[in-house]
Symmetry: C2
Subunit: 135 residues, 2 copies
């Protein structure tokens, strides 16, 4: 297992994390994901962690890093499919994953991303309308 596959669906990217992450795999994922965002002009990243039975501080930090990197590249990140037990453990450990948006499953995550991308577009259109009016 050298790398985690990144699937493109329209302007969204989907990453399913199934295996235990180690340093090198996490670095490779960050490299691949940022390259893919830049290459495909993706606007959203979905990270599915439904098969993870444990999320430690390493994975938590990786998720936060990916979200931050994506944001810099103008893509939004949503983490989906967290198991209830994982949520309990995370909060008990004092890790609330600030800056990372969550959704119950891939479908809801896609809906969330699509809705917020549409809002962005509306804002962009309104802004360009304003700009054209000022001309």
């Amino acid at each position: 297992m050298d790398r985690i596959p990144i699937l493109q669906m329209g302007n969204l990217l989907l990453v399913t994390i199934q295996v235990d992450m180690h340093d090198r795999l996490a670095m490779t994922l960050q490299d691949d994901l940022t390259a893919k965002i830049s290459q495909t002009h993706a606007r959203g990243v979905l990270i599915d962690i439904s098969s993870l039975e444990m999320v430690d501080s390493f994975i938590g930090r990786m998720l936060a890093n990916i979200a931050a990197m994506s944001r810099v590249l103008d893509a939004q990140t949503v983490v989906v499919g967290m198991q209830p037990a994982v949520a309990i453990t995370l909060v008990e450990l004092g890790m609330s994953l600030p800056g990372v948006r969550m959704a119950l499953n891939v479908e809801k995550g896609m809906a969330l991303l699509r809705a917020s991308l549409t809002e962005d577009n509306v804002v962009e259109v309104e802004e360009s309308d304003d700009a054209s009016r000022q001309d």
Copy 2:
């Protein structure tokens, strides 16, 4: 790694195979997938094998089995993302995966499934039209 996650997207299911399959994992995947098709009324199954660097006769048989089981449950299966080297090896080994449809990537696979599901619906509608005319 107990099970491979199955992601639902509308009436399609997506399975990303990232790890080496062994007997028990393959059985679990077949059980989970058939249960999920029946539970979600999914009409299509996408199996992404882009991270597999080798497809042996075991995996080949598993893909064919999944396609056959899905067909019985009225869902179509498309295998996506096969690496070029894997395709060469498969054909050299005389395994051409009969009965399994392929697509280059997840996007094209989704488009293929959506198109053939739409065709099915058209046929169903036409048939019910014919039936109503005969009444």
